[in-house]
């Protein structure tokens, strides 16, 4: 077959006078352009002149040929402009590289035109209509071909909301399309306002559906900050069927998870207040149930009462007629009370507390080792150990370690004492009911000076803030009074921090004024806390207050105050993205390095989790060009915040910086990775941090160790062997006498973070619906300030979120429910407890006492834990140990333990490839994808999420329900009270620990340890 070897003949034909010959030549050139473009390129001017020739009737064909030649020449811009000239001849459905490339180019062009909001209206008109036509043709084609996702993506990118709507409504899987779109809007839409528009559109479409997905709608509405609409939806659902009500509860839990306190408050206020039952109907039964639920306490009593009501509703037909009161009304009131309880966050906090308490698996031996190896006089390591303990037991209310080491604890003086007291707040985090009474011994007494030192008083106020972080309704007033009644700057410091935490993001004017008064006393210590506190109060409001704060920062002489204020200012612009640009500009151009440093935080927080290119670019620029080490360090660190939604990116972006000659930059790089990859166990992140943990500079080691712990949290050795190496490294550093204090402190904290919250929490900056968790991000941001001020270490507890599956029934109780984790149990089990070095530690073995009293129940949990640890130990050490271990357990207790935790029992047998988990269960993030719900079980989850709070639909409502976690709260209630008073004695330095001993667990039974 002959093939033409040159296009010269055709090109020559172009010069023929006869138009038909030209046409013939063009048509042939068009089909052969892929072969002869080098030859044709020299004749492009000729073809161009044909295109420009008004007489020629096939100008579009000429344009198409030119466009193709330019495409092959790599001149995409020219190619595109001629392709536009080709009009309909440019076939969007053509399956060629040319068409694909040009389409992509056209879309990019169009998107960038649409993206840069034109300065004036006439520029808007400048978008080439031909370009628009091509894009529209493309979109239509995608929709016709059923490539809806593609169409949606393009429509979002090109800001064509009309097309987006069309694509969604015409797609075959409407719900899938909508949720895909929500994902899109969070991951790929960088512009905040536009994202709002997209979401508004989505909500609109959702609402048109016959069966709207209220879960998603409410998530959107939350982002749009529209409490009114959410309240309406909830109300509607509440007055619906029982399933609707379940859904409403689920929505409420999901909203709470996003930790937007101000929004939740607004929703709650918009829900109708409970009407008192109309007296005319005067029926004693509802009257008696209502008041309890009306109080909003979601304690055991009220829900029991609620259950009664609900039972009545269920058995409507026989009983309803007999009653005068409309049962629907009662049910509604009851549901309303429940949902308010949930929205207040108390429900989830309480359940979390129960879960953390009952599943606590912290390893006291680690702390003991640390305590023994740390030199007594080294106060840094001393308070780091206290902090590590607090973190390890964050939210578990277990303070055994403190109680066992009262004397040791009393070595903390001054600010160390402040921190130690604040640590209690971390341990009891979320213990809303008893929080105040717990801290009572340390709190400043009204008027009385006697109490304790100002340090423990200040620390206690701070602790109260930590306990009530982001749920401070109940405690705000008290903290305000404490702040007003004192003039001691240490107490002011604690009170400011506490208030800021409790009233996080509420933008309460009165509190703001109180704190401002403290700031204007111009005392360095109090002022610093006031600055931070103002920021906490105004988180994400972008209020005018920022400029006020900035002005004062310029005025004051105290560096501490400036630093506090600049962080505070940064907090105010949290999540505002472009809106914050002016302020950021102002701060980053300031003369004062501390304000520039605040500017870095402002960048970090304003663009948190957006992976915004502009912000990254700016931060990288500051990271290499600023003159101040502090600013550079912070700039690198800030990258971690900007990138936390895409943790895979961070190691790559900071990898060069982590090899910088400047230790501050290296430190920043380590923490950036730690922050953005927290809780992921990402392999690249670990590889990047590994060399840094043995850096030559002590503080870099410190940062790297902490960051590593943040990354590895809840990853065990069978997932990544480097976790084990790291644990051993930590131990080595802690035991090494010659190690620098800084890195030693890092190692101590790292061991705390690694086992945080009884090994049941992880650091999560994104909620399950991919919203940012405001408390967590703020917590980490302030935590990273520990460089200057150790007490701020405790802010890390804000970032902890429990890794649990907690299923709830209609009564918001935890029923017995089993589900499947389709993975080897060893992959996600708790790390093994470290083996006691000597046989003396066998003293910690469990008591076999089992009684029904609440106190013993409290211990039963600990027994279970120790039993498990014993079993683990025995698993490695042979059968004799395990036999004797089992010997002392009563079978009854065995069953009890099984219910609490279904950790694999037998090590010797070949490992099963799945495990059955029992509600509530620990489900670590990496495990989530293996979770399956069993078919045919009694309960069905309202939404198929693998973790978090899930409402369960009861398929057999007639049968009695079996509940788990029933009486844990009462146990929690008694236990910490004791501990509170005992630590109180310790804090006040009294040597009499007799009282404490009284409350100690009974001595263990004799037990011989065989190894």
């Amino acid at each position: 077959m002959a093939v033409v070897s040159s296009a010269s003949g055709l090109l020559a034909m172009l010069h023929e006078p006869h138009p038909e010959l030209k046409l013939h030549a063009l048509a042939n050139l068009n089909s052969h352009v892929h072969l002869f473009w080098p030859e044709i390129s020299t004749s492009v001017p000729t073809i161009e002149s044909l295109y420009e020739d008004e007489e020629f009737n096939q100008r579009q064909l000429a344009a198409l040929v030119v466009s193709k030649v330019f495409y092959y020449l790599g001149e995409l811009n020219d190619s595109l402009s001629y392709a536009l000239g080709a009009g309909p001849l440019f076939d969007v459905s053509e399956d060629s590289d040319y068409a694909h490339t040009l389409l992509a180019k056209a879309l990019d062009e169009y998107a960038s035109l649409k993206l840069n909001p034109s300065k004036s209206a006439d520029e808007e008109a400048k978008v080439d209509p031909r370009l628009e036509a091509i894009v529209e043709r493309m979109l239509d084609k995608c929709i016709l071909d059923g490539k809806y996702q593609q169409a949606m993506g393009m429509a979002v990118e090109c800001r064509r909301l009309d097309k987006l709507e069309e694509a969604i409504t015409r797609s075959d899987n409407l719900h899938g399309a909508l949720s895909y779109c929500i994902n899109l809007s969070h991951q790929f839409v960088n512009h905040r306002e536009y994202r709002c528009e997209v979401l508004r559109l989505l909500v609109k479409i959702y609402q048109r559906l016959p069966s709207p997905d209220y879960l998603s709608i409410c998530q959107c509405l939350m982002f749009l900050n529209d409490p009114e609409a959410v309240a309406n939806i909830l109300e509607k659902l509440l007055s619906g069927t029982k399933d609707d009500a379940l859904l409403a509860f689920q929505i409420a839990f999901d909203l709470v998870e996003n930790e937007n306190q101000a929004f939740l408050l607004n929703v709650r206020n918009r829900l109708p207040t409970l009407r008192p039952q109309s007296p005319s109907q005067g029926n004693p039964s509802p009257e008696s149930t209502l008041p309890s639920s009306q109080n909003g306490t979601v304690g055991a009593d009220s829900s029991v009462a609620a259950e009664d009501v609900h039972m009545n509703v269920d058995s409507q037909t026989p009983n309803g007629n007999a009653r005068v009161v409309d049962p629907n009304e009662v049910a509604y009131a009851d549901r309303l009370a429940k949902i308010k309880g949930i929205l207040s966050g108390e429900m989830s906090i309480q359940l979390t507390l129960q879960f953390l308490y009952s599943h606590n698996r912290s390893d006291l031996l680690i702390l003991k080792t640390i305590k023994q190896s740390v030199e007594m006089r080294n106060s840094v390591c001393h308070s780091a150990t206290i902090c590590a303990n607090a973190i390890m037991h964050a939210g578990t209310t277990v303070d055994t370690f403190l109680r066992e080491n009262l004397e040791w604890l009393s070595r903390a003086t001054n600010w160390a004492k402040f921190s130690a007291t604040a640590g209690l707040g971390v341990i009891h985090r979320g213990h809303l009911q008893q929080g105040r009474s717990l801290m009572a011994p340390y709190l400043p007494q009204n008027g009385a000076v006697g109490g304790g030192s100002p340090y423990s008083e200040g620390g206690a106020l701070y602790a109260l803030g930590l306990i009530h972080a982001n749920h401070g309704e109940g405690i705000k007033q008290f903290l305000r009074e404490s702040l007003r009644n004192t003039s001691a700057e240490v107490i002011q410091h604690g009170a400011c921090l506490g208030l800021g935490l409790a009233a996080l993001g509420t933008a309460d004017e009165e509190i703001y004024d109180d704190i401002k008064n403290v700031l204007y006393t111009d005392s360095a210590v109090a002022g610093e806390a006031a600055g931070i506190s103002m920021g906490l109060l105004m988180v994400g409001t972008a209020s005018e207050k920022a400029s006020e704060m900035l002005a004062y920062a310029h005025e004051t002489q105290h560096e501490k105050i400036i630093r506090g204020l600049s962080l505070g200012i940064a907090l105010t612009v949290y999540g505002r993205e472009e809106e914050a640009d002016t302020l950021i500009e102002q701060m980053t151009r300031d003369q004062d390095p501390i304000l520039r440093y605040g500017g870095m935080y402002a960048l970090a927080l304003a663009y948190r989790g957006t992976a915004n290119n502009k912000a990254i670019h700016q931060l990288l620029h500051f990271a290499v060009s600023d003159v101040s080490d502090d600013v550079r360090r912070t700039a690198v660190l800030a990258l971690g915040f900007v990138l936390y939604s895409e943790p895979e990116q961070t190691p790559r972006i900071v990898s060069l910086l982590s090899e910088s000659y400047n230790p501050h930059v290296r430190y920043g790089a380590a923490l950036a990775v730690g922050i953005s990859c927290a809780g992921t166990g990402l392999s690249e992140a670990i590889s990047l941090l590994e060399p840094l943990t043995s850096d030559v500079v002590d503080f870099v080691r410190q940062g790297a160790l902490i960051a590593m712990a943040m990354v590895m949290i809840q990853t065990n050795e069978s997932c990544d062997s480097r976790v084990g190496t790291f644990r051993r490294q930590l131990e080595k550093i802690i035991l090494d006498k010659h190690e620098d204090t800084m890195s030693k402190m890092g190692a101590i904290l790292a061991s705390g973070i690694l086992d945080a919250g009884g090994r049941n929490v992880t650091i999560k900056l994104l909620s399950r619906t991919k919203h940012d968790k405001i408390t967590a991000v703020v917590g980490l941001a302030v935590f990273s300030q520990f460089w200057y001020w150790y007490p701020l270490l405790y802010f890390i507890s804000l970032a902890f979120s429990p890794t649990a599956f907690i299923g709830l029934n209609y009564d918001l109780k935890v029923p017995k429910f089993e589900f499947l984790s389709h993975a080897k149990p060893s992959l996600f089990e708790y790390p093994r407890a470290i083996t006691p070095p000597t046989s003396t530690s066998a003293a910690r073995l469990p008591t076999a006492v089992l009684s029904t009293t609440a106190k013993a129940k409290a211990r039963a949990k600990k027994d279970a834990e120790q039993k498990a640890s014993l079993e683990k130990a025995s698993g490695g050490e042979g059968s004799s140990g395990s036999a004797s271990g089992k010997g002392i357990k009563s079978p009854e207790k065995d069953a009890d333990a099984m219910q609490v935790d279904s950790a694999p029992e037998k090590k010797a047998e070949p490992e099963p490839s799945f495990e059955i988990l029992t509600n509530p269960a620990r489900v670590v993030p990496a495990q989530e994808k293996y979770i399956k719900f069993l078919e045919g079980s009694r309960y069905v989850p309202v939404k198929p999420a693998p973790s978090g709070f899930i409402l369960l639909k009861d398929l057999q409502p007639a049968e009695a329900e079996e509940l788990a976690l029933t009486d844990a709260p009462s146990a929690v209630a008694t236990n910490p009270n004791n501990s509170g008073s005992t630590t109180a004695t310790a804090q006040q330095g009294s040597g009499s620990s007799a009282m404490a001993v009284d409350e100690e667990p009974q001595p263990p039974q004799p037990f011989e340890y065989t190894s």
Partner: protein, 267 residues
């Protein structure tokens, strides 16, 4: 026979008749019609579809274009020559094996070479030459062009001019005439470089003009920058070459300084 093909052949017969009559206007018209008709044949380049009539169609088309080339020489239209030649060329290069080679092939290739020589497009001349098989160089038509080029390059212009007498084909005469003009341009170019001025007589002899009148006309048409005074032709020296540009010292200093600054900043 295919009706289209018949139509083309009939039209082509009329074209040949007119061609023999030297009725070039009719020829041009007919040719244009023919070309349009040819575009209907799918077997022609560049598609080369294998149709039953492919051989006949290709042969006819080649014949038409060969005539077109000759016609363009006769009408002394260089552009048309180039156009037609390029359209003809695929029939020579890409159809071997389908139709037998044409007897007209080498004369026409030779003509093209000559044209390139006339237009002083030496690079293209050699490109074309390279594309020919070595045996083709023995062909008198090609050999003639090659020898001409050699003489032309050597500067043996007299040999070039005398070669007019030995043309292998009558169509070559037109280009040989044109070649004389090309040679004159070359000489003029050289003289300009070589001499400051020449007497009018010398110039006339050098540029092979028979009269001074012709010389003056040539000067006004082609080299208006030459001056004729005092019985001499003064060649204007080419413009003095620009003095070497000033060194952009300030810019360089700035650049170096900024490099130094960047270096210091390197992480």
């Amino acid at each position: 026979m295919d009706p289209q093909l018949r139509e083309v052949t009939q039209l082509f017969e009329r074209f040949k008749a007119a061609f023999l009559r030297s009725d070039f206007d009719t020829c041009t018209n007919l040719l244009s019609q023919l070309k349009v008709l040819l575009t209907k044949f799918p077997s022609l380049p560049p598609s080369f579809q294998r149709t039953p009539n492919a051989v006949e169609e290709l042969t006819v088309a080649r014949d038409i274009y060969e005539h077109a080339v000759v016609l363009s020489v006769k009408t002394e239209d260089q552009d048309a020559f180039e156009r037609d030649f390029f359209q003809l060329k695929p029939y020579y290069t890409d159809t071997c094996g389908i139709i037998p080679p044409s007897p007209q092939e080498y004369p026409i290739l030779g003509l093209n070479l000559l044209r390139l020589l006339v237009q002083n497009r030496i690079a293209e001349f050699h490109t074309e030459l390279e594309l020919l098989p070595s045996s083709a160089l023995e062909n008198p038509c090609i050999k003639h062009a090659v020898e001409l080029e050699q003489s032309f390059m050597e500067g043996a212009y007299n040999r070039v001019l005398s070669a007019r007498q030995t043309v292998p084909h009558e169509t070559y005469v037109y280009f040989m005439d044109l070649l004389a003009k090309t040679v004159r341009d070359e000489i003029a170019g050289c003289s300009e470089k070589a001499y400051d001025y020449l007497t009018i007589n010398d110039a006339k002899k050098m540029l092979m003009f028979s009269s001074e009148q012709e010389l003056f006309q040539y000067i006004t048409e082609e080299h208006p920058d030459w001056e004729t005074k005092n019985g001499c032709v003064f060649f204007q020296k080419a413009k003095e070459s620009q003095p070497s540009k000033e060194i952009p010292s300030l810019q360089l200093i700035n650049q170096t300084l900024s490099y130094a600054r960047e270096l210091e900043r390197i992480v």
